[in-house]
Symmetry: C2
Subunit: 271 residues, 2 copies
């Protein structure tokens, strides 16, 4: 999961009229902002095992937190029915901005979540490949995170795992121009985005729910996770296109909730 792009959402609102004009998809309109490229990554000394050292104050929980995400989802994790939460995302019939942050590719969009007695607003959705959460130890080729927050800074993530199979209309449209943002910092437009089928998918299946963390620095805890237990499907060609751009961006699974942080553990063991 990445930082919130509230400023990006604002910038998007400013340029939105151009999206609906004849400039749609032409890249002729001026960009109102630049996309900040992440300083963390998934390899070597900028990878997950060293996020703490990148900023020991801000990222302390990455190495010491005991409710860290992602985790293995099994019978020890609570489930509920998807219709116990209300998840809606605005339509973008002319597409939305699509950004390469280096650590992921992200689409800033508006939407709402009512869950656990709280009202959240959507900031963005983004992608991990392979999946970060595993169901009964099995990973999936992709995972999508819709990141929500409340005015008092509570965070919730609605997550979908993605398997290989039939094409998914929404995902095909999201990724139609991904080749145009192969370099971190680049932006383009998605195709038309309509979320009714995705909202129905969530509503029609069980969801895993638990309190965990952001899966990227600063690994903040107290994040409420709502993960559809039924994976979506995507076609293999689209998956390949996405993987070419994102490459590997999944944090390793963390210890069981409440157990010692796996990095704190190895530090204790090696001393």
């Amino acid at each position: 999961m990445t930082r919130f792009t509230q400023f990006t959402v604002t910038a998007l609102a400013l340029v939105a009229p151009a999206f609906a004009s004849c400039d749609y998809g032409t890249h002729l309109y001026p960009r109102e902002h630049t996309v900040p490229v992440s300083t963390f990554g998934y390899n070597d000394l900028i990878g997950p095992l060293n996020w703490y050292s990148l900023n020991k104050t801000a990222n302390e929980l990455c190495a010491t937190g005991q409710h860290q995400s992602p985790i293995v989802l099994d019978s020890s994790i609570a489930t509920a029915h998807g219709d116990s939460i209300s998840f809606t995302v605005d339509s973008y019939p002319f597409g939305a901005e699509f950004e390469n942050l280096g650590s992921t590719v992200e689409v800033p969009v508006n939407g709402t979540l009512k869950a656990g007695g709280k009202d959240y607003k959507l900031a963005q959705f983004h992608f991990h490949t392979p999946s970060e959460h595993r169901i009964d130890s099995e990973y999936h080729p992709m995972e999508i995170h819709f990141v929500f927050s409340t005015p008092d800074k509570s965070t919730a993530v609605v997550s979908f795992l993605v398997d290989l199979g039939v094409p998914n209309l929404l995902l095909s449209s999201v990724f139609q121009n991904i080749n145009e943002i192969a370099t971190p910092g680049e932006t383009t437009l998605t195709g038309p985005l309509l979320f009714a089928a995705l909202e129905n998918h969530l509503k029609s299946n069980a969801i895993f729910t638990y309190s965990g963390s952001l899966t990227t620095p600063p690994c903040t805890e107290g994040v409420d996770w709502y993960i559809s237990a039924q994976p979506l499907q995507i076609d293999t060609a689209t998956y390949g296109k996405v993987k070419d751009v994102i490459k590997f961006n999944a944090r390793y699974t963390q210890n069981k909730l409440g157990g010692v942080n796996l990095l704190q553990n190895i530090a204790n063991e090696l001393k």
Copy 2:
């Protein structure tokens, strides 16, 4: 990579006549041995971040070694032409034993490798999903390790990355009965195994070469790696079947060769 199954190869030789008889694939012949199920895994406290603690003497290098595998393969890693080594695997026209070790699925087979001035003998090949090595940071859905050793205990691994695409005759045949070994400890037979196309693939492309380690406990170093730079392809349906059984079994990528071990590093940083 897993432990050598020299005893299994021996056992296979004992039952080999049955493989060529009308009992082929029928499970009617008696098993000569049981398959030892791995005590390490890829989740929680038996996962890669805690392999050291599972046996601090045997597995010390997992947390302190500075030439650990897998790594990111990029322009800093030496390449050679595949025809600079000689890789041959015996044919098994009636199939070979196929074992679920818990940590991977493995086929004990005979073969030879001449590389770096040494003559090696093949012990087995096995699978990781997703891939352990990444080329220019990109992972692949699968990786195959052919594990060789010399009488004086030198180890070499010939590795193939696997992308999604067209069916691969050899891999389709290897995996034809994988549903019969869904539980760790179970064994079955592969379909017919003929390696000429694989040998030619290795010979016809560049290979990455470096000195690293076993990617599983005890993480022994001094292992010579020979990794084909050109991925094979496998069809999506077969990949799904394999992933259902193996689930996730890739160690996270290690630090650059000669750099501090990422676990030693976090221990140093957290104290």
